[in-house]
Amino acid sequence: MSDQTHMHVEHDIAPGDEEQHSVGERIIGYVVGLGLALLLTATSFFIAGTDLVWQPSIPVALIVLAIAQMGVHLVFFLHITTGPDNTNNVLALAFGLLVVFLVVGGTVWIMSHLNQNMPPMDQFIRMHS
């Protein structure tokens, strides 16, 4: 948060608001967003059910597609962009995402370690019988 950032405050816009666009342009924005979202969704469902893709790569592909689709929603529906008028909105989003990443990633990491060190019962039977 340097001095450079808040000079934009002057033409700051609310999250969800767009800068001056005509109604037609705005509708086109939603249409494009819907099209992209449907395309990405279809790809996700297709990949999950197909044998054409190398199986172990499916989870990664699904996660990448989900992130891409979230991005599409953010840009076309919520109008969050990297523009200077959006700095504050993006910073808040970045902080939120950092926390989400830390909580989910940290939890999964910690819990996998704990489970590994404290084998739940089925693995324990295998080890000791």
Binding site: M118, P119, M121, D122, F124, I125, H128
Partner: protein, 277 residues
Amino acid sequence: MNLLDPQGPVAAANSTILVDSVFIMLAIVVPTIFAILAFAFWFRASNTKARFQPGFVYSGRVEMVVWAIPALTVILLGGVAWIGSHQLDPAAPVPGTGSPVRIQAVSLDWKWLFIYPDQRIATVNTLTVPAGAELNFQLTSSSVMNTFFIPQLGSMIYTMNGMVTRLNLRADNEGKLKGMSAHFSGDGFPDMMFDVNVISPLSFPDWVATTAKTDAVLNEESYKKLMQQGIEKGKPTYRLEDPRLFNLIATQHIPPGPGPELMSDAGRPHSGGHDAR
């Protein structure tokens, strides 16, 4: 139970790290406290000899030092923490003389059960171990969480139902120590103190032999009776019927211990801890 009077290598290492860390930090903490008091005293408004410097609000040199001192301290302590965590991991082996003793500890509502699967005996609220041998603990809980802790032997560890934690310790000197639960577990929690008898490796087999002659038998049935909520004032010992009892507990083949009996639907249930007094 003084943490600074360790009776085994794990506790000795823990407490050395503890003391070292304190001294590392004292090296900067003491001067800082002194500086706070000295500055506060010297720059008091009534002291005309002190020079008023309202413009002294930034100094690159001071800022450097100010960030560097805590950072360096933390790097040093971080190193200690890294090495210490690895060397003193509760599951890391602690080599000792003679063959290691396997002990399976189960925290019950509100007592400790120690199973010696190889010796086919079990004890409640008393842990008897030979001096100098490696002690391999496997720990679980019959119901709620507890923490197994013998202060003078070092590292504590949680016990949880359906899970097995591991801890290796060694007691170096013969004598009587105390252990406890260090995680609150309900009304009978303060009575989860247990005795630790460290005896000579030579007399350990004798103790095992004597204990094995006990009439009381520990099997699924008597275990289920034992795990009811309540406080055990005596120190019963058992012959172990099936050395796999611990596995049955840990894998929940024996279901978790029951909670308090409900006297009425409303607000305040009565627990075993209440009656045991």
